[in-house]
């Protein structure tokens, strides 16, 4: 643990104390909730020659070769340099990505935290030897060796980028400016019918995050490890919230349209949506509320059945290289994972806008991860797993 890491831990601890929960140092590293990787998996020890191609599963906007927009291209150079032809299959949800990876036809995937553990536990991805990836050294320390990309000290991928889910409001319609998630959970909100929320079971964690701060007696520590009592409280809160929701948003264009037209005036958002709205001169403001926020951190992983492992390693090195990492972070609207990427962005203050180097900012972020039955602490296997989250979400929407 180097000095910086210790500082982050200290900040996390201080925050935990402020919001009045008895978390300790161990809690963050137990996030993998007892996930076991299959035995006998070996990381590659030596990089060979490229196989001539690589097959990827990725989020839309993560692998661009200029066919979407001629100016947006960080693939062609890679293909020229390495001779690895890049083929990409877009995954629309984390679950689709897991299914695609299980087919064994792909070499690698850009997985979010709510997919990585499932892939590791299922033996679908192989450990990664980060020594074969020179650019890994420049990745922010706070992204390395995290519960969603590392199991038992073994890395399973390279961090791609991260972002936080923020609270956004229409500055001309909401006053005073909110600084708490209470703005979207208050049953008597003056903005009833104009409140929005993210239409996904993982949003239950946002309610848990708010309860963690406002109802300390529930003893919520990790918002993805909820036992029966905590889970019920979060679901009840969301059922009450249903009454003031105008509409939920599931893709970013829907929220963009709703805030532009004024159908939604306050709710959770991604940085990229806020940027798009600001570009359209919609008077919106965002804040990372005082309770903290949920967020996401994506990881490039290599399939355990990869047919083109050398090209995949080269790709993992390329996508976190300063230039490519800067390009993808700007195109998608997220914080890059490579420290040196900040000097390469076209918009000079990109890293400031997305808080790439602001560890205080990200220490308040609870990254998405897959809820599993094992709570990862002395509560044992009493936590709600993801399928129960999904069923609860159906009930909440009614």
């Amino acid at each position: 643990m180097n000095g910086r890491w210790a500082a982050i831990a200290a900040v996390t601890c201080a925050l935990a104390l402020v919001v009045g929960c008895g978390g300790d140092d161990e809690s963050s590293s137990s996030g993998s909730g007892g996930v076991k990787a299959p035995e006998g998996q070996k990381a590659m020890s030596e990089l060979g020659k490229g196989e001539g191609q690589v097959n990827l599963v990725a989020w839309a906007g993560y692998v661009e070769d200029g066919s979407t927009d001629p100016k947006v291209d960080w693939v062609s150079d890679f293909e020229k340099e390495t001779g690895c032809q890049v083929n990409v299959k877009i995954g629309n949800t984390s679950d689709e990505m897991v299914t695609l990876m299980r087919s064994g036809q792909y070499d690698g995937v850009s997985a979010s935290g709510d997919a990585t553990l499932r892939l590791i536990a299922g033996g679908d991805v192989a450990p990664v030897n980060t020594e074969l990836i020179p650019n890994y050294a420049d990745v922010f320390d706070a992204l390395k060796d995290q519960p969603w990309n590392t199991v038992d000290g073994q890395e399973y991928g390279v961090p791609h980028g991260r972002g936080a889910n923020l609270l956004m409001w229409r500055d001309d319609k909401v006053s005073p400016a909110p600084d708490s998630w209470g703005a979207v959970f208050d049953e008597n909100s003056p903005y009833k019918g104009k409140v929005t929320a993210y239409d996904n079971p993982i949003y239950i964690a946002d309610a848990a995050l708010y309860l963690k701060a406002t109802q300390p007696d529930l003893g919520i520590d990790n918002v993805y490890e909820l036992d029966d009592k905590q889970f019920t409280a979060a679901v009840d809160l969301l059922k009450k919230q249903r009454g003031i929701i105008g509409e939920y948003w599931s893709d970013y264009t829907k929220e963009q349209a709703a805030f532009t037209s004024g159908d939604s005036v306050v709710g959770t958002t991604w940085q990229v949506i806020a940027n798009l709205l600001e570009a359209d001169k919609v008077p919106i403001k965002t804040v990372l509320p005082k309770e903290g926020a949920t967020g996401w951190s994506d990881t490039w992983m290599i399939s355990s059945k990869a047919k083109n492992p050398n090209c995949m390693y080269m790709w993992m090195n390329h996508i976190i290289s300063p230039k490519a990492n800067a390009a993808v972070a700007e195109w998608f609207g997220e914080a890059p994972s490579n420290k040196k990427a900040c000097a390469e962005t076209a918009v000079k203050d990109h890293c400031d806008i997305f808080h790439a180097e602001d560890e205080d900012y990200f220490s308040q972020v609870a990254y998405w991860t897959t809820p599993v039955k094992d709570c990862g602490d002395d509560r044992g296997e009493t936590c709600k797993d993801y399928s129960e989250w999904v069923q609860a979400w159906t009930e909440i929407k009614g």
């Binding site: 949800t93 037209s261 993801y386 069923q391």
Partner: protein, 299 residues
Amino acid sequence: MAATATAEAPRNSAGRRLAGFLWRRPKLSLGLLLAGPIGWLVIAYLGSLAVLFAASFWHLDTFSGQVVRGFGLDNFQTLVTQDVYRSIVLRTVLIAAAVTVTDAILAFPIAFFMAKLASTRTRALLVIAVVMPLWSSYLVKVYSWRIILAEDGILNWALDPFGLSGPGFGNVATWLVFSYLWLPYMILPVYAALERIPDSLLDASGDLGGGAGMTFRRVVLPLALPGVVAGSIFTFSLTLGDYITPQIVSSTQFIGNVVYQNVGVANNLPLAAAFATVPVMIMILYLLVARRLGAFESL
């Protein structure tokens, strides 16, 4: 002449022999003709339904999240015991019924005008006008409605001077959009049914002293009813199975949304399959009733 004939005969002989062979066996040739379509129906249509039905008895292993292929009624128990699923089924069926009734009321006058009153030229124009919306993309139409119904949309702008405001995004919006989307599917069968009613019957009713209302109730409606029921099969089943429109113009959940959520997000195929059998059952009942009302002769 004779030389050319003998030169051509061998070229066709194989095909001719086959033709002759099939001509002598009409049952075989009919079987070969229908093998494709029937094979498609049995394997692709009924086969997928059978797989769906089988999958609805499986369950999810809570630890690994993998599907366990064993018999069990857990899914159906969940569906019956949890109120939320019942209210989703009820909502879906009610909106589908409301859409059907709305479309029937809107379609009848248009269809009647097209079939009985319009000149040939106007009729052709009207048929094109009715079919025209089907040429444009479903998504474009639904998103246009989103713009119409939005807070700063055209509907609120038009209603504002009267101190009113539109329904916003919700159940009413879904009902409106579905009614718009499926209207052509109602107009066409009703039009076909009305066109088949001979004008002489209407004249006869008049001659016997039947007024306009009486003629409509006792002559036109009974004869056109199979057409209305045929159209209602489309409007009802299309609404019942849709999940995209509710997602775009509201946050209400239809049966389809829950199925989608369970397959796509939760990977819980068995529960999705169990819930998907509900609209299948509803449609089977609906079609049985429709058959009694003679709808299939009007399709």
